[in-house]
């Protein structure tokens, strides 16, 4: 097991370096001359050439890649093309923090709704409530965010005036409720599905029957024997779900007018500000890879039954 963890730890930096190389190549293949973008198109060819030299654009690609990586390791993702002379990280960090807060709120909603409901559906297997929950969750899962977002806005903000329709006021404001619900509900549907399946698997185990047979209170059996064991496989799904949520939140930020990474990345596309876009993609990949690494290793510690090749 130690060998497995060490191998994973050694492979992760290589994986990230390869991912960074891919992103870097996409950035260099991107159209438009960064020096020309920076100086404006009325500049003379000589000045553009000097700027290219100064920005290191005339160096061979491997050299540029190494210096890019060296910068990234120091937390420097280069300068923005569009916002003159500002560091990418300086622009990106506050926006990313907004998106992260939004996703944490959504994850809390997904977990609070999804896990108990999945557990309940499994316990009620054979009655009408189980298929009712499964089908309604599938409907919610298939519902595109383009539908949930406008619907929630129209109903709760425009009709009922309970919450503001759009904008951003931090983690503890009422404005976060609608977007967090929009992201959280489809993820809750995923959790219900997996929690139901894994609960069903645990319920059939012999130790659960033993616990019931020796007269343990229902509450203790449900909580200590069933729920805790059923939660284990959910951990692995958590990583993928979070990645999906993060991608989905980009669109939701646009609809709700939230100044997060989604708005920024869309602007970056149309302003051809590729350093921002590549940094965002690279940071996203880094977070995803590290999250999965932590989950996998935590998993081996929590569940001793797992064998690793």
């Amino acid at each position: 097991m130690l060998a497995y963890i060490i191998r994973r730890l050694l492979w992760t930096p290589i994986l990230l370096a390869l991912a960074a190389f891919f992103v870097f190549m996409m950035g260099t293949l991107a159209p438009g001359d960064p020096a020309e973008l920076r100086l404006g198109n009325r500049s003379t060819p000589e000045r553009i050439e000097r700027e290219r030299e100064r920005m290191g654009l005339n160096d061979p690609i491997p050299v540029r890649y190494v210096s890019y990586i060296a910068g990234v390791l120091k937390g420097d993702f280069g300068d923005s093309y569009h916002y003159q002379g500002r560091k990418v990280l300086e622009i990106l960090a506050p926006r990313l923090w907004v998106s992260v807060q939004l996703n944490i709120a959504a994850l809390i909603i997904a977990v609070i709704i999804g896990l108990p409901l999945g557990f309940y559906a499994a316990k009620r297997q054979g009655t009408g409530r189980d298929p009712a929950i499964v089908i309604s969750m599938l409907i919610l899962y298939a519902m595109p965010v383009f539908f949930t977002a406008p619907f929630l806005i129209l109903f709760f903000a425009v009709q009922l005036h309970w919450v503001p329709a759009a904008g951003w006021g931090g983690f503890f404001s009422t404005q976060i409720i609608l977007p967090a619900l929009t992201i959280g509900i489809p993820s809750a549907a995923i959790f219900v599905r997996h929690m139901r399946a894994s609960t069903l698997e645990v319920i059939g185990q012999e130790y659960v029957r033993t616990a019931q047979a020796k007269g343990m209170p229902n509450f203790v059996v449900n909580y200590r024997h069933v729920a805790r064991n059923a939660l284990l496989p959910i951990l692995t799904i958590m990583g993928f779900t979070m990645a999906g949520m993060f991608g989905g939140s980009l669109i939701i930020e646009l609809i709700y007018g939230i100044p997060g990474a989604g708005r920024l990345s869309l602007d970056a596309i149309f302003q051809r500000d590729f350093p921002i876009l590549t940094a965002l993609v690279l940071l996203g990949a880094g977070m995803l890879v590290l999250a999965n690494l932590v989950i996998d290793i935590a998993y081996t510690i929590i569940d001793p039954r797992i064998r690793l090749q």
């Binding site: 891919f22 899962y141 298939a142 425009v158 999906g244 980009l250 996203g284």
Partner: protein
């Protein structure tokens, strides 16, 4: 990857015969919800395929005297803010989705994914290692971000390439026909489609290559391509079908999202994503447009929703019917 220890022995099966498929179809038809879903999917795809025949207007003809109208006998689903007929635009938008999902699936999932899975699982060794590592790097990125990055960086290159072809060969209308948009979206969606399929096929092939009938075929001197495509592939068809039916919804949604972002299909060519984007997210006045005319969202959204929902139901049913052991 951490895996719960499990037995992976797969009993070799005879290649499916016609009777096999007929009995599967019979079992599938018994599931009413899945069958209805399949009918709905077929209906929606038919709408898209016959768009030029069943349109009632020109999809890009604006009529500024009749903007933001409700449904009428003239405009079945009303008109949008430029007075264009929403019904016609939805039907053409479906066509866009149909073309993109089908081409992406044939090139990405079926061609790339299945061949790589066969090669990777059968030959193992360094080919397998290289393919798997590439897949791991690609799946390290959050899907949507990667798709957006690919579309944003590739698009101008491909448009330029198409212009060069137009200039050098004298063919005109390549860029304006929208084919370029389809190519860009198709390439951008590749990472979403091939790796899952490849991993699935590889896992099956790893088990099958040790099966006795494959060893027998090898001992008799059957050529490798023949073993791969005649002996192994037919036994992998069932999981491939299930995977395709689950994946198509995701591909369709990804296309809608790209167009919503303005990176996919470009106006005036209609796409469901463009139509949704025009009502919800373009400009700062999203809430007021939404408040005054929410009904314009209904048609494109219901189509997208139905497509994803029905493909999920069909996928579930196919999974039950094709892999009885999985239950």
């Amino acid at each position: 990857m951490a895996t719960v220890s499990q037995s992976t022995s797969i009993a070799p099966e005879l290649p499916p015969t016609r009777g096999h498929w007929r009995s599967i179809w019979a079992r599938f038809r018994k599931r009413k919800l899945a069958f209805v879903s399949l009918v709905i999917i077929t209906f929606i795809y038919m709408l898209g395929i016959f768009a030029p025949v069943i349109q009632t207007h020109d999809y890009q003809k604006t009529n500024l005297a009749q903007t933001q109208q409700g449904p009428s006998s003239e405009n079945w689903l009303g008109t949008d803010r430029l007075g264009r007929d929403i019904y016609t635009r939805v039907v053409w938008g479906i066509q866009t989705t149909v073309i993109i999902t089908i081409t992406t699936f044939i090139t990405g999932s079926l061609f790339l994914g299945v061949t790589m899975g066969l090669v990777s699982g059968y030959f193992r060794g360094w080919i397998d290692a290289v393919i798997m590592r590439i897949g791991e790097v690609i799946s390290a990125f959050p899907d949507i971000l990667l798709i957006i990055l690919l579309a944003a960086t590739l698009k101008p290159r491909i448009v330029q390439f198409a212009r060069d072809i137009e200039d050098s060969t004298g063919i005109s209308g390549l860029v304006s026909s929208g084919i370029v948009d389809y190519v860009v979206i198709g390439i951008a969606l590749l990472p979403l489609s091939w790796f899952g399929m490849m991993r699935l096929v590889r896992g099956q092939v790893l088990a099958l290559r040790e099966a006795e009938y494959v060893q027998a075929a090898r001992a008799m001197g059957t050529t490798t391509p023949r073993i791969l495509f005649r002996h192994i592939l037919p036994n992998v068809v069932s999981p491939i079908i299930v995977s395709v039916s689950f994946g198509i919804g995701a591909i369709a949604l990804a296309e809608v999202m790209l167009s919503f972002f303005g990176l996919g299909v470009q106006p005036p060519r209609p796409s469901l994503g463009v139509m949704i984007g025009e009502v919800t997210a373009r400009g700062g006045a999203s809430v007021s447009v939404l408040r005054d005319h929410p009904e314009q969202l209904l048609a494109p959204i219901v189509v997208v929703w139905l497509l994803i929902f029905c493909w999920n139901i069909v996928g579930d049913a196919l999974n039950d019917v094709l892999n009885p052991r999985a239950r």
